[in-house]
């Protein structure tokens, strides 16, 4: 039976690259070594329905989607984008960097806003990087060196199931040959999560008080424990002191942080302050931080957009060159203000992951979806273009949560066009409509 080894899993930012995939008769019948998420992603496509054909709503949002040809759908998409004064292109995170490069070109040529799913996950981490930098390391370094792992506002048992065995608490590394026995673990979360169950210390803070807790930790590290009150962020001072002592005792600490840091009160200011905590602690021992990225290639979007156009997300090409200011140019910013007039999304599902107010507006403007599967976004989309699944049906590059690029494999043949091909065709059609041929 043909087994493809070292397959790259395209679910989360762990980008595990050791999967063993059995392909029989152009069907994936077994996925070895994957977690529940990776298995569902890699072979799930044979268990549930694809968007089989391109579709268009011909008479507004109340009309049904009707099947059409790729050409028709792509032409319609191009027409919508060219006609718009303030179009926005969103998503492009569960796809290849090669597709993202095309999405940048399309956004430039249509004078669009251009944003990634970081808008609803780690966008604030990029803002924190802009404030304080990103003191980080590769996941292999973390595996080999780290004797203290802190999960701050993240829950890898649910969101990154193989993280602990491959890279963090349970992984055996060069200087942690006994795995878990050589490592301590702290969890910071208002919930006593499944990840927290095995922690040496749980800092169960009040929701929205991450910033306050970081302030206290920094005050301790910088010699001002005396000013701290008896309770900080709902946690006894003694417990916070204990956490600080664990950090000072460790030779190499990694702080993995998630949406518990980015989506709560203060948004990026907490992650930004964690970054300073990392710097403060590094005066005596090594400390780094790594964002637990969700979409497997949301990191890649940030990389591609930064090298192509200067900014990692929330770009506004309306004046021919990117302007950047999350809060002003982020997808939910402009949807909340109801100031865009066309929407294209691919390899993401804003319908499921945006707040109600944004979706209400998406029901009012022309919307284009490029995706493999029907989902809530399909409900308001006027043009639906089915795409091949990157990393399964087509190859390309993806960036792991530690910014390590890996080449995804093509496992099976498909008749669906890839995101890259679809975007290339939309670009060609846009040029034709604008009378900008060539190139």
């Amino acid at each position: 039976m043909p087994v493809i080894k070292d397959v790259v899993c395209t679910f989360c930012g762990c980008l595990c690259d050791d999967l063993e995939v059995t392909v029989e008769d152009n069907k994936i019948t077994k996925v070895g070594k994957a977690c529940k998420l990776g298995r569902a992603k890699t072979m799930g496509m044979f268990l549930h329905e694809r968007i089989e054909k391109p579709m268009i709503r011909k008479n507004g949002k109340d009309s049904e989607l009707e099947e059409c040809s790729y050409d028709e759908a792509i032409t319609k998409a191009a027409e919508i984008l060219v006609a718009a004064k303030r179009p926005i292109s969103y998503g492009w995170c569960s796809t290849s960097c090669e597709a993202i490069e095309k999405a940048v070109v399309l956004a430039e040529e249509t004078g669009s806003l251009f944003d990634s799913t970081a808008n609803v996950c780690h966008g604030p981490s990029a803002l924190a990087t802009q404030e304080k930098g990103a003191p980080s390391c590769s996941l292999g370094t973390a595996k080999n060196y780290a004797d203290l792992i802190i999960f701050w506002g993240c829950n890898p048992v649910h969101a990154h199931p193989r993280h602990q065995t491959r890279y963090s608490t349970m992984a055996k590394g060069a200087f942690t040959p006994n795995g878990k026995k050589d490592k301590k673990m702290i969890v910071v979360d208002p919930r006593n999560t499944d990840t927290a169950k095995k922690a040496d210390l749980l800092l169960q803070l009040n929701p929205g008080t991450d910033y306050v807790l970081v302030e206290a930790l920094r005050a301790i590290v910088n010699g001002h424990a005396d000013v701290l009150p008896d309770e900080i962020a709902g946690i006894p001072k003694a417990t916070v002191m204990e956490a600080a002592e664990m950090c000072k005792a460790a030779k190499f600490t990694v702080i993995y942080f998630g949406m518990g840091v980015t989506q709560t009160r203060g948004r990026y200011k907490s992650g930004d302050n964690v970054s300073s905590l990392v710097s403060d602690l590094s005066q005596t021992n090594k400390v780094v931080m790594i964002p637990m990225r969700g979409h497997y290639n949301v990191t890649g979007f940030g990389q591609v957009a930064a090298w192509e156009a200067g900014f990692p997300m929330a770009l506004d090409f309306s004046r021919g060159v990117a302007y950047y200011n999350p809060g002003e140019t982020g997808t939910n910013d402009v949807l909340m203000r109801r100031e865009v007039d066309a929407f294209i999304t691919g390899a993401a599902d804003p319908g499921a992951h945006f707040p109600q107010e944004s979706i209400k507006y998406l029901y009012k403007i022309p919307a284009i979806q490029v995706d493999g599967y029907a989902n809530p976004t399909t409900e308001f989309s006027d043009v639906v273009i089915p795409a091949a699944i990157a990393g399964v049906e087509c190859e390309g590059t993806a960036y792991r949560m530690d910014s390590q690029p890996i080449r995804m494999k093509k496992l099976i043949e498909t008749t669906f066009k890839s995101d890259e091909e679809i975007l290339t065709e939309i670009i060609a059609k846009v040029r034709e409509l604008k009378g900008e041929g060539g190139a």
């Binding site: 004064k85 249509t110 302030e215 206290a216 005050a219 001002h224 701290l228 203060g266 090409f317």
Partner: protein
């Protein structure tokens, strides 16, 4: 003296970017010339005449030029950007980045201002009679310093990150300031007459007065007892000790 009156002709949904609305640009220009000044509506280049009726009275240099926006412009961004002199009066609301990078002159907003009013201003005065939202007197992404000089007054309330990265100048908020005013500031003075939450996060130096209540206090400030300033008794705190800061936070007792 030159007075330029811009009367809004329509209520755009897509924000107009009109960074050319400054006394510096308008000085000495006729109504036709001002009407022909470019602005942007999304990805479309338009002119000010597409949005405003323009009436010019007199002719003068920037310092002698007064611009009156006679109406509500909640979707016109960047009014008064980088202005060095003269006066702007807006008889209604303004959109984001009003008065950003201004170094002189004055802006009065009779309604509300959206985020980033007075972003990175270095001089001049801005008065907002209504409310402002986020990052009033704040900085730009990645930049170390926000506001460096001048005075920003907001008679109503503001939301989060007032005076973020402030390196100089003066901010007065007569209402409440929501979360983290003065976060990461280096210098300058912020006065909040109403209530606020977590003031002075990571303040390196600079001064914050809170005349209302601090609804939630950072743990990393040192209580220095009471002190009277200009006839008002405050509890004085120094910090932010999370970063060995030497700022002063006065909270009315």
């Amino acid at each position: 003296m030159q007075t330029v009156t811009l009367t809004p002709k329509r209520s755009p949904v897509i924000s107009i970017e009109a960074e050319m609305i400054t006394p510096d640009v308008f000085a000495g220009k006729s109504d036709a010339e001002i009407g022909a000044i470019p602005a942007w509506e999304g990805n479309e280049e338009i002119t000010l005449a597409d949005v405003f009726d323009v009436a010019v009275d007199g002719s003068a240099d920037a310092a002698g030029t007064k611009i009156i926006i006679d109406g509500n412009v909640p979707r016109v961004k960047r009014i008064g950007e980088a202005m060095t002199a003269g006066e702007i009066v807006v008889k209604g609301d303004v959109d984001m980045r009003c008065g950003a990078l201004m170094s002189g002159g004055s802006i009065t907003v009779e309604g509300n201002a959206d985020s980033w009013v007075g972003r990175e201003m270095t001089g001049g005065e801005i008065l907002v009679k209504g409310n402002a939202t986020y990052y009033a007197g704040g900085g730009y992404r990645g930049e170390t310093c926000g506001m460096r000089g001048g005075k920003l007054t907001i008679e109503g309330d503001v939301l989060d990150y007032l005076g973020e990265h402030m390196c100089g100048g003066e901010i007065l908020v007569k209402g409440n300031a929501r979360l983290l005013p003065g976060v990461l500031n280096w210098s300058g003075t912020i006065t909040i007459e109403g209530d606020t939450t977590l003031p002075g996060g990571e303040m390196k130096s600079g001064t914050i007065f809170v005349k209302g209540k601090v609804l939630e206090m950072l743990p990393s400030y040192k209580d220095e007892g009471t002190e009277e300033v200009d006839g008002v008794t405050y509890r004085k705190y120094t910090g932010d000790l999370s970063r060995n800061g030497e700022g002063v936070l006065y909270v009315s007792v």
